[in-house]
Symmetry: C2
Subunit: 648 residues, 2 copies
């Protein structure tokens, strides 16, 4: 089995998951196939919606003699006539709905293996939200016991071992930690259906986060029973990889249409508010007048068109770096989801989400409302401003929000100020936070679109950061001419503008003090003739840094890496690879996760890093794809994209 990360945004990711019946892309949705009643066959689903993987129920197959015989004889793929990957469920949910079903936990795993399931599921104990803690604890224990017994039998079948623990977050975390020790292939989050049915999205979010915190990050997480697109973007942003939908047919049976923003009863619609092939072909009256069977089929199709489009939308958002935007837009569709999103603002959750956030994205930060200021990337920027940034002079002039880039917008003022006094910093009290002029081209300060007036939440958050940032600093609010008149002639010379920019960006990007290290000598800054922006930085005639035009951040050159490696102590910025990988990395090959022995815990996805051997010899510089935990747990895929190696 292989699970390999290909792209990422927020705590979400696009991965490849390989099975004997083919490789699929996650996040993905598995339609639930009832082997007794296929309203749409898996084959049709593949054709119509691009369905790549389905889920069916081994318990239902096993208890029906005909199905059982067929499945045992020809395999589950023949049974439901699908040649792609098939996951099977075990009867856990049935035992929750119908009470205890007489099933042997070992037998059902063996049965799944026998019928050729690509992903089998253990018979875990469904923890309900109304359980008492000791009951939930008992369920977790039993689930873990069964998981341990089942995993021995799995053979070539992938095995899914769910996290349980009801709504007790410590239990969820504990169960996730324990189950991660078991060599399963998928870690579903179970017992969440009753929460979703009652729109208890806040509890759901807490459970996902607690589970994810304990789970091995290199295995796919399946949000068991989640089939409504409303919840997909948020769940993916928190690290869920698989969904399964029986909702498409359950809702259709009840004349309900699902939409990204919620559910609508057919009878309450006067027009079909959708452009899917079903809704484009039919009018609402035609749909209402259809006979029941045909109507249910059409609604089920609509539900799947919409659900799969949402999955595609999410994957596209991950590639574009706009998943948080999508999540925030969706959250506004439903008051309970709005509520749930607020949980992400808690400091402990922000800190966790920040671990997975790439240091730069392809898209600007688009404001969608009061949630935007709490995005991990903005939280990180604020934290780094407070911890890493060091102003050059004692006094700072603060300008109000203006057009970007600020140093050009305020160029005339600066000229007049500098004529009077040179040793002064410039800062913009922007809608996204305080922005020192040296950072006015850096992501996300420059690459953000906020309205002129934001909202109280944003204003409060920004003013808190501003206050902390300017504490113990002398602040002069820009009041036009008066400000200039009040300035006294300075004796000190101004810091070189380019040099101060290089220093500030380095400190923000690589860590406090790096700016000083990388500018300690004879500095030459080469700028683009066209844009006037910094392109390359040379230290003592060696090319150490290049600035990217799209995000105003540096890519490290090998000569820069050597200096950092020399002056910056272990483990800073390091990714340590084992000796097997050394020759490949030296040749400039990328670092595969399985060769990573250790890693600086401060490195984040997209960060520049130093690849070293176990004796801390520098091998290459590159860009991280994974964070520390991920590097140390993924068995497949690239951990660091090497850019330059020492040998070359």
């Amino acid at each position: 089995m292989k699970f390999e990360l290909k792209d990422r945004d927020a705590t979400g990711r696009i991965c490849k998951f390989s099975t004997k019946h083919g490789t699929i892309t996650t996040p993905n949705l598995m339609p639930v196939i009832n082997p007794n009643k296929m309203i749409i066959t898996p084959k049709e689903m593949k054709k119509l919606f691009g369905t790549e993987i389905v889920i069916t129920n081994s318990y239902i197959i096993k208890k029906d003699e005909k199905l059982r015989e067929k499945a045992l004889k020809n395999g589950v793929h023949k049974l439901i006539d699908f040649d792609g990957p098939i996951m099977t469920d075990s009867g856990t949910f049935q035992s929750y709905v119908y009470g205890d079903v007489s099933l042997d936990p070992i037998e059902i795993v063996e049965f799944q293996k026998k019928i050729g399931s690509d992903i089998g599921t253990i018979l875990d104990i469904f923890g309900t939200p109304d359980q008492k803690k000791n009951e939930a604890e008992k369920g977790v224990k039993e689930t873990l016991k069964r998981a341990k017994r089942s995993v021995i039998l799995k053979g070539e079948m992938n095995l899914a071992c769910p996290v349980q623990g009801s709504i007790f977050l410590d239990l969820r975390l504990k169960c996730a930690n324990e189950i991660s020790k078991i060599d399963a292939d998928v870690y579903p989050i179970g017992g969440v259906v009753p929460l979703m049915e009652n729109q208890r999205y806040s509890d759901l979010v807490k459970i996902i986060i607690s589970s994810k915190k304990g789970l091995n990050p290199s295995k796919p997480v399946h949000l068991f029973g989640a089939g409504h697109p409303l919840i997909f973007p948020l769940a993916v942003a928190l690290g869920c990889d698989f969904f399964d939908s029986s909702a498409y047919v359950k809702y259709a049976n009840d004349d309900r249409l699902v939409f990204p923003w919620g559910t609508e009863k057919l009878e309450s619609l006067t027009e079909l508010p959708c452009c899917c092939p079903v809704c484009s072909k039919l009018t609402v009256d035609e749909l209402k007048r259809m006979d029941e069977k045909e109507r249910i089929l059409e609604i089920a199709k609509h539900n799947l068109y919409v659900s799969f489009a949402e999955i595609k939308k999410i994957r596209n958002a991950i590639s574009q770096g706009t998943l948080w935007e999508l999540v925030e837009r969706r959250a506004n569709s439903n008051p309970y989801l709005t509520q749930a999103l607020k949980i992400l603002r808690l400091k402990e959750n922000k800190k966790w989400l920040e671990l997975f956030e790439t240091s730069s994205k392809n898209s600007a930060v688009f404001y969608t409302g009061e949630n935007t200021i709490h995005r991990p990337i903005i939280y990180r920027s604020h934290q780094r401003l407070l911890k890493n940034y060091k102003p050059f002079f004692k006094d700072t002039i603060v300008f109000p929000e203006g057009n970007k880039p600020y140093s050009i917008f305020y160029a005339d003022h600066i000229k007049r100020i500098k004529a009077k006094r040179e040793d002064i910093n410039f800062l913009v009290d922007s809608n996204i936070g305080p922005v020192p002029f040296e950072l006015d081209e850096m992501y996300p300060f420059a690459q953000s679109v906020f309205p002129i007036i934001t909202d109280y939440e944003t204003e409060k958050e920004v003013s808190d950061v501003f206050e902390k940032f300017t504490k113990n600093k002398k602040i002069i609010c820009w009041k036009g001419k008066d400000t200039i008149n009040e300035l006294t002639q300075s004796e000190k010379k101004a810091f070189d503008k380019d040099l101060s920019k290089v220093t500030a960006v380095c400190d923000m990007q690589f860590g406090k003090g790096v700016g000083k290290i990388l500018t300690d000598g004879e500095i030459k800054v080469v700028k683009s003739k066209k844009t006037g922006k910094i392109r390359n930085v040379y230290l003592n005639n060696k090319h150490i840094l290049s600035m990217r035009a799209n995000d105003g951040m540096f890519t490290l050159k090998i000569e820069g890496g050597k200096i950092l490696h020399n002056k910056f102590k272990k483990p800073l910025l390091r990714v340590v690879v084992n000796k097997d990988a050394v020759p490949f990395v030296k040749e400039g090959k990328s670092v595969f996760a399985k060769f990573v022995k250790n890693c600086d815990s401060k490195l984040r996805p997209s960060d520049e890093c130093l690849v070293v051997d176990e004796k801390d010899n520098l091998l290459s510089i590159g860009r991280c794809i994974l964070n520390k935990d991920e590097m140390l747990s993924f068995g497949n895929g690239v951990a660091v994209k090497t850019r330059e190696s020492c040998n070359k």
Copy 2:
């Protein structure tokens, strides 16, 4: 020509617009047809997207000899092979884009008539956003002059006379006022394309509101050149009825796909984030690999599928009473749109929007974020609480937010309080504002879904209203047992609970003091055995009111109407009809707008009203479909749905 209102929500409306080539439903979108190059023919559009009306350009037809000859000979419908309504534009936009085009303003109107256009357009002067005021004023004058000259010639053709005035709101209002005096059939809002191209949605909103304020409300308003679905919901909510899209093909030519949330370049997509027939049929790579012509066609189709789905979504939202929700959700898609929505919070705009807001809706008020508290229906409720509601006792106990209905959620507490003291009011400091217990089943207090924690904007707004509402009142914050212990035994008896509810709801719904009038005598309240809710109210054995279960508001019975009519002076609650209508109304027929002579300016759509003749004799009671301005200007359709008449 007929333009008839069928349903409404926000300041938006669903209307029927009749032409010689058929009746269409508004809001609607007219795809722009270039007679020289039809990438998709109007016939195909009808089949694929349900296109009902198209727009083509008479200037382009006229200047091309072949097209001109054909059009003059066979008519414009044959020319573009479409048997539905066709609107024609006049060359105004071309003269804006290419500079002065030599066109005679009279000739072009006559030409449009000759070729059989269903809606012709005068050659107005396109006012650009960068114009100086005197220039814009000159343009408006010339536009009005041409409109006056053109309208004489229109014959059976509907004529569109645009509102111009650049970004000068007083000019827009003035132009709208003046052009409303001209007997045109459609009033487009012109000169807005450059604003939309630069995402200046705030200016756009201001212009739409200023124009709408001056325009005759009984004529359709066309937002000229608006073809991107992003803007449709907000524009409809502000009263726009028609859009035209050349965007579908313009964007397609440039490999751009439109979505409800914005525009995406094909090259930036890794998956097609959509479920339209094009995006369901093709993968993004297939689309990218297509040859140019085919690709443009597919993207154009996608753009139209999405645009028409958005129109259907909007009409459905109007029927469901959820248009503001849709607007607020969309606003979060784009920072400039977010900014634009804030303009609606200005008191003058809230006051204007409130005029059109129905008094009750089919759907609950769903919180979408900080915009929700500013919805006109909530503004109205707060205003009426402050002006119409009168507490029964001096002291009030305030409970925090709880489950609905509050009087049941807090029933135990109330029982204990009342055991100690009866003359006390109960109030909930809810997330939507102060809710006296008598109103806890009334729309929108009961029919609203807000999260437990809202946002600073909402909290501030609500606490402002709470402060005003409780000013000069003695407030006791509920602190459990302590509160009960601090109460002193009362001498007064409690007000009858049902009576106080009837009184309070009447005051909120019909006006201050109405509660007293309608309960002045022997009151009998009949409740539902099943729900315990008030059903019918009898005064001196006459059935005067029925309470609706869905919104907790009263429908007026004729006996109640008689009392109100008797004790409540003109013009309160009156709709005055002319003598031609009297016999019909007496028979129980609905009141058509064209027979309305006058109307209480306080009546809002869905309000209960008294229909009287010109001598103020009561004819019937009913429910308003229109507000005063609309009743006095609409020539078609129902103004009041009669429920009971005096004769019956």
